[in-house]
């Protein structure tokens, strides 16, 4: 297929409008790289296509812009949260505008998930120490009684 036939085949139009198959896209990429006329045609066609759709442009309501701005701010913050410390700027130039002001009006706090096993471990250890403490307390008390009894026996006069 020569250059003229390729241009007139309409594959380029389908390619730019996102209606081409993977095979056709590959074919277009190869032709663009090897034929400057096709590359030039694509640039001209881009202008045509842009002009065509600009003729049918409809201004959207102003609220839409605000909504897009709000959604993109949220996305920016989410993507910034994935950055490491080393991605942070070294000087304190982070502006306040980069953060969303969130009004917090509840009494709950959020803690790290490691606090749960730590709390369970502390609870179990406290029970072990309590049981061990009671055991040794009563054991010491019984031994004390035994010693006292033996002393009494030794100190008692023989009949």
């Amino acid at each position: 297929m020569n250059t003229k036939q390729f241009i007139e085949s309409g594959i380029l139009e389908a390619y730019l409008l996102g209606m081409s198959t993977d095979e056709e896209q590959h074919q277009v990429n190869q032709m663009v790289m090897s034929h400057s006329e096709i590359s030039e045609y694509l640039v001209r066609f881009e202008k045509n296509i842009q002009g065509y759709f600009l003729q049918n442009a409809v201004p959207p309501p102003s609220d839409v812009r605000q909504l897009i701005q709000l959604r993109n701010n949220k996305t920016d913050i989410t993507s910034k949260a994935n950055h490491t410390y080393y991605d942070m700027p070294k000087d304190n130039t982070v502006k306040k505008e980069q953060y969303l002001d969130i009004e917090v009006n509840d009494t709950y706090i959020k803690v790290h998930k490691w606090w749960r096993p730590a709390f369970v471990a502390v609870f179990i250890l406290s029970k072990i120490f309590l049981i061990a403490g009671l055991y040794y307390y009563f054991k010491a008390a019984s031994q004390e009684d035994e010693i006292q009894k033996l002393r009494t026996e030794i100190a008692a006069p023989k009949r």
Partner: protein, 152 residues
Amino acid sequence: MNELERVNDNSGQQVATKNSAPLTTLEVYDQYGAMAYGIILQIVPQPHLAQEILVSVFSSPLLQSCNSYPFTFAVCVIKLARAKAVEAKRKLLTIAPFSADNAYSSNENTPELIFDLAFRQGYSPDEVAEKLKISKSEVLKAFHEFFKSPNA
């Protein structure tokens, strides 16, 4: 000025490169928002739904990939707006499967009709060919003819 610039590399071939700085979402919206809204309304005529689709186009992470797209931002926005609108339309209406009953007669196969079926109704070139009982190459040629015509 077009964002594409022709440069000659060492092999003498011309390649397309984009030399402008990456645009922010709002800059893209200010430039191409009305165009995208017009495209979406052509595919989904309900204004409320069209506005939701418009927001999803300009909130999409795919829009940022337009910065590395080898062609103009306008073309990237056109593709993205059409893709989102057709997806929404498919979800809402579930495009009817083709049958012999809704096949068009050959004398109606104007480039305008073929472009309308493919771009606005969301049919692939293969599906349009099947629907109109013509070959796929004729469908693709009709795209070329459509943009050559004075209406386009």
